[in-house]
Symmetry: C2
Subunit: 111 residues, 2 copies
DNA sequence: TCGGTATATAGCTGATTGGCTATATAGCTG
DNA sequence: CAGCTATATAGCCAATCAGCTATATACCGA
């Protein structure tokens, strides 16, 4: 089960577009730091910092291969997010949005 | 469709445990600022600030009823998150985790 | 062993964040 | 209208963040 702290770390890691783009890249397979950084005009230490955030959230794992330290996607935290979302899914899947409720009740009241 | 900016705002809003607890409360129905703040030992302006973050992310909508300004859950950003997650779901639903891939390939290599 | 390549760490900066107190605004209610 | 209640705004602070440059570390290959 995800602790609140886990979820906070995961959501915070996902809040940055650069990091989400990195995850998207990793969805196509493992990649090195240099490969991951290439699409962005960012300095190498900045990339390493982003990777550390992703790693701390458990969203990536790293291996060692000579001086390369490829990263690969880890889905456990995404599963936690998905499970967290499940608690709210009912609100949109049945169009039972709070706003819908509100508007409907207003319309009812007018009759 | 969710812009990157939308997703960033949403994930950032969800990264705070106080705000997630507020959403959980709102899942049970609309609530006023005072009601939302009650469970936490936080000052009232702090609660208002959290609500503003949630509102900016589109996760809540507010109405006016005398001096009360109740908030209610808005699920649109959660739907965006869910759709974003869909892009990764294949990686865990079929146990096709990158780590699984890696371990399996190591084991294969040892034979 | 030396030079090059890949990555990490240290340390700086400006912006943002989550908390606070003090104060303003707005709407009831007596 | 006076005072109470609910909420918002302003402004402060310490911590965190995303970026940078400079430098260290680690490994390979000639």
């Amino acid at each position: 089960m995800a602790t609140e702290e886990d979820l906070s770390l995961t959501f915070a890691a996902l809040a940055d577009p650069t990091r989400r783009a990195m995850l998207a890249r990793l969805a196509r397979g493992p990649a090195t730091v240099t490969e991951l950084g290439a699409p962005f005009g960012l300095a190498q230490p900045t990339i390493s910092k982003h990777l550390k955030v992703l790693e701390r959230a458990g969203l990536i794992a790293r291996t060692q291969k000579a001086q390369l330290r490829p990263a690969m996607l880890q889905t456990a935290p995404l599963v936690e997010v998905s499970q967290w979302l499940d608690g709210y899914r009912q609100f949109w899947e049945a169009n039972l949005d709070q706003l819908d409720f509100y508007i409907t009740s207003l319309q009812e009241a007018q009759k």
